[in-house]
């Protein structure tokens, strides 16, 4: 394999498609899961991930820091998802020839997970994003602020409201023992 020297660093020559495919193959499952938790349905999740990877593909040569790729894709995913809700027509029901998702069978669920999942899905998009990034992606408030392009104070406020909303609507059997 030939190599090239860029700023003193020797790297093997790999085509853009090869390099991109390597990353996409490795990280796509995780990004699909994140998109699914954000959107709540299969078709939207797949569409969101396709847009995110397409934008990454267009910008591939601009990304110097390969360690930052996940951060870039996560930011595109979340911001795409949030901004899509600013379009009024997206909020209305649409006629579709696509069948709705089949219910997911969770053999470990006693009903509580499904309940919580439904409650998270009912949150406004930005609050849902904050909850997903905090409790699914395990990001800090500062990291969430960076992803969403808002202040950490806004993240804190949105998270607090979302948690209060979730707790207020969670059946007592699930919500016991909180507030430590």
């Amino acid at each position: 394999m030939s190599a090239t020297t860029i700023l003193g660093e020797t790297r093997p020559i790999v085509s853009k498609d090869e390099d991109f495919t390597h990353y996409m193959t490795a990280r796509q499952p995780a990004m699909l899961r994140l998109a699914y938790v954000l959107t709540g349905d299969t078709a939207s999740a797949e569409d969101l991930v396709q847009v995110a990877f397409a934008k990454l593909y267009l910008a591939w040569n601009r990304v110097e820091e390969r360690g930052a790729l996940d951060g870039y894709v996560r930011r595109i995913l979340v911001n795409e998802h949030n901004s899509s809700w600013r379009r009024p027509w997206r909020r209305r029901e649409r006629v579709s020839d696509t069948l709705p998702d089949s219910p997911v069978l969770d053999t470990y669920d006693d009903g509580g997970n499904a309940e919580l999942w439904q409650l998270v899905q009912s949150l406004p998009p930005r609050q849902r994003s904050v909850i997903v990034l905090r409790y699914y992606e395990q990001l800090s408030e500062a990291e969430i602020a960076d992803v969403l392009g808002v202040s950490p104070g806004t993240v804190k406020s949105q998270a607090s409201k979302a948690l209060a909303s979730l707790r207020g609507r969670t059946p007592r059997s699930l919500a016991t023992g909180e507030d430590g």
Partner: protein, 389 residues
């Protein structure tokens, strides 16, 4: 410390995600989608130049105010924009910013370096502690903003001439100022708007955390927490006007605001424009319309869509018509920060990946590019300097 409920929430999300019935994308599908996005971006860019020429050509108003019907001269004259200097003709081809521009004067506005060096207007400097990420001069007070890397909590420090901290204020954001630096505002940790001017500081309580959008001598534009399409202005006396039916106010100058009106992730893009007294004067879907020049004749504008990768375009538009005066691009790189230096020049912090360099460039109405701060090596993740206000 997470509670039982939070742990249960995390578990529910993890379990649902692990069973998500989603199918992976192929490279072909992604490339096809990418081609579509690129086609739309090119179409938007071409339409922008064509629209600009269409606006400019028929007007043909000369600098002396004489109507001029000669199409060959129309490009020499441009639109009627106020200002002491003759307006250069619009630049029809995008200008690419590289690290090869000629060195020019240092920035004429405040700016700071990552090591804590504060450069103040007039050429004076102060050495503060490292870690500040924004700098403002408000009514002769030097205000620098930092945030705790662990907690994210922000602080506005008032800095003395020797770099020492004279006073500190908890804040959710860095201060915003008007162009002249006579007034400024920020949001404190209680979500209230702190207004600062020659007469001292006043705190205005708003419902929930206010999101501050823009500041000028007449007041501060903000969005109440949770509000959509509802930008209001609070005056220094506390009176509130509005709201405007816009997604956001990006800058304000008296009765005029630059605003984002619509946002479209499918095209993708956004539309925005200039409103006067709440009435739309013009709109464009080619750019995000941002800051007014100090004389109000021009606006800085950026890409119409933010995709998390940074801005690749910085344009100067006629504030009266939206016509493009000049469009700057940075090949594969990003414009990180931008401000007006005076009525005819903008400053921008730029990163060019080809040589992994950060620099501050001075961009003219005529397409000229100068180095205001010489290139410095670094990755695109952390700029070594920031422009102040």
């Amino acid at each position: 410390m997470s509670t039982d409920f939070e742990q249960q929430l995390a578990g529910a999300l993890e379990r649902r995600a692990s069973t998500a019935p989603v199918a992976p994308q192929s490279l072909d599908a992604v490339r096809h989608r990418a081609r579509g996005i690129r086609r739309r971006r090119i179409a938007v860019s071409a339409a922008g130049v064509a629209a600009a020429l269409a606006v400019i050509a028929p007007l043909g108003l000369s600098a002396t105010g004489v109507l001029d019907g000669d199409p060959d001269r129309s490009r020499d004259i441009a639109v009627a924009s106020p200002g002491p200097s003759p307006v250069p003709p619009p630049v029809t081809e995008p200008v690419t910013v590289t690290t090869g521009a000629a060195p020019g004067d240092a920035p004429g506005i405040a700016w700071l370096e990552a090591d804590g060096t504060l450069h103040l207007p007039g050429g004076t400097m102060a050495q503060a502690e490292p870690g500040y990420r924004a700098l403002s001069v408000v009514a002769s007070r030097v205000l620098a903003f930092r945030s705790d890397p662990d907690t994210g909590l922000g602080t506005v420090d008032e800095i003395g001439t020797d770099g020492s901290v004279l006073a500190s204020y908890g804040a959710l954001m860095a201060p915003m100022t008007d162009d002249a630096g006579t007034v400024g505002a920020w949001v404190d940790r209680q979500g209230r708007i702190v207004w600062a001017g020659a007469g001292g500081q006043t705190t205005f309580d708003t419902e929930g955390n206010a999101q501050l959008l823009s500041v000028d001598a007449d007041g501060a534009w903000f969005t109440p927490e949770g509000a959509e399409r509802a930008a209001s202005r609070i005056a220094p006396d506390g009176s509130v006007t509005g709201p405007l039916d816009v997604l956001g106010v990006n800058d304000s100058l008296g009765e005029r605001v630059t605003a984002t009106l619509t946002y479209d992730d499918m095209e993708p893009g956004s539309c925005g424009g200039v409103l006067r007294g709440g009435r739309e004067e013009w709109r464009t879907c080619d750019f995000t319309v941002d800051r007014f020049s100090p004389d109000g004749a021009w606006v800085l504008a950026t890409d119409a869509y933010l995709d998390g990768m940074g801005q690749g375009t910085l344009a100067i538009l006629d504030a009266g018509t939206g016509g493009a005066q000049v469009q700057y691009e940075v090949e594969d790189g990003v414009f990180f920060d931008w401000r007006w230096e005076d009525a005819a020049h903008a400053l921008a912090v730029v990163h060019t990946p080809a040589d992994q360099a950060w620099q501050v460039v001075r961009l003219g109405l005529d397409g000229s590019v100068e180095q205001a701060v010489a290139p410095r090596r670094g990755t695109d993740l952390e700029p070594p300097f920031w422009l102040g206000s």
